[in-house]
């Protein structure tokens, strides 16, 4: 997927840890990790709203679109049961 979540950069700028952000937003550290590492398939608006509120930023600061070769990796779960 070509959407990148730039959580690392903003956390460093705000001097906040992932655990602290998870507590404030009400999302587990595991789920925030999934978001940070680009493995998430979707983000709810409510989660995006909470992230922007706690990090005092805009959605555009968090999300970036970086198309390129290999950015569309398809659904890793397709035929996973085979």
């Amino acid at each position: 997927m070509a959407i990148r979540v730039q959580l690392d950069r903003i956390l460093a700028e705000r001097r906040m840890s992932l655990t602290e952000l998870a507590d404030r937003v009400g999302v587990t550290v595991a789920n925030l990790s999934i978001l940070k590492t680009g493995k998430a398939r979707a983000v709810r608006f409510s989660t995006l709203d909470a992230l922007c509120r706690e990090l005092e930023c805009q959605p555009g600061d968090l999300l970036a679109h970086e198309p390129g070769p290999g950015s569309d990796l398809g659904d890793p779960f397709d035929d996973a049961e085979d």
Partner: protein, 197 residues
């Protein structure tokens, strides 16, 4: 062209009894069925084990002067029991029970996930496909075996199964494969939901 909206006539479908039954999770209908499947599995395993021992014993036991009677209830005829016939008969019955034992094994594992309240697991897709395949093999085997018995052993006494006798089993097998695809889609949606933050 838009059709005019009809006024509501105030008829509501009756609420089915047991509509509030808990079907998934601990203490649900699924857990009751799982217990039943466990019991059936143990019984069938014992029966299959005995049949398997019997089949092995059939290789060695003396069968001289033994006859088998083929009858449709009215008339019958006797024929000598040969070792290939004995091995075929006992082997066919053992394979039949063995096939259903494997089906029960798959069903038990599926119902275990239902009891845990998490039905849409990728493994359930594979299990359903296996159940469909075993059902197809057992159904085909029974059809062929009955055809052989009717043609060779009991001509005129037992009628072979026609193609029409396969309609219901084939329909059931296809339904199982369709269910496997439904579970596959469910597992995909479950995964999507897990990765939605």
């Amino acid at each position: 062209m838009r059709l005019p909206k009809l006024p509501a006539i105030g008829i509501r479908a009756p609420r089915l009894p047991g509509a509030n039954l808990k079907t998934l999770g601990p203490g649900s209908v699924s857990s009751l069925l799982k217990i039943a499947l466990d019991v059936a599995y143990v019984l069938l395993a014992l029966i299959t084990g005995v049949l398997l021992l019997l089949w092995v014993a059939s290789i060695f036991i003396p069968i001289d002067n033994l006859n088998v009677t083929v009858s449709d209830g009215a008339d019958g005829r006797q024929m000598p029991l040969t070792r290939p016939l004995l091995l075929f008969g006992v082997g066919a019955i053992t394979a039949y029970f063995g096939g259903f034992l494997m089906i029960l094994r798959g069903l038990r594992k599926i119902f275990r996930t239902l009891t845990l309240g998490d039905p849409f697991q990728p493994d359930n897709v594979r299990r359903l496909r296996q159940i469909g395949l075993i059902l197809a093999i057992v159904t085909g085997g029974v059809w062929v075996a009955q055809g052989l018995v009717a043609a060779r052993l009991a001509p005129g006494v037992m009628e072979p199964q026609g193609i029409s006798d396969l309609l219901t089993p084939v329909f059931s097998i296809l339904v199982v494969f369709v269910l496997a695809e439904v579970f596959r889609e469910g597992a995909r949606l479950r995964r999507e939901s897990e990765l939605t933050i």
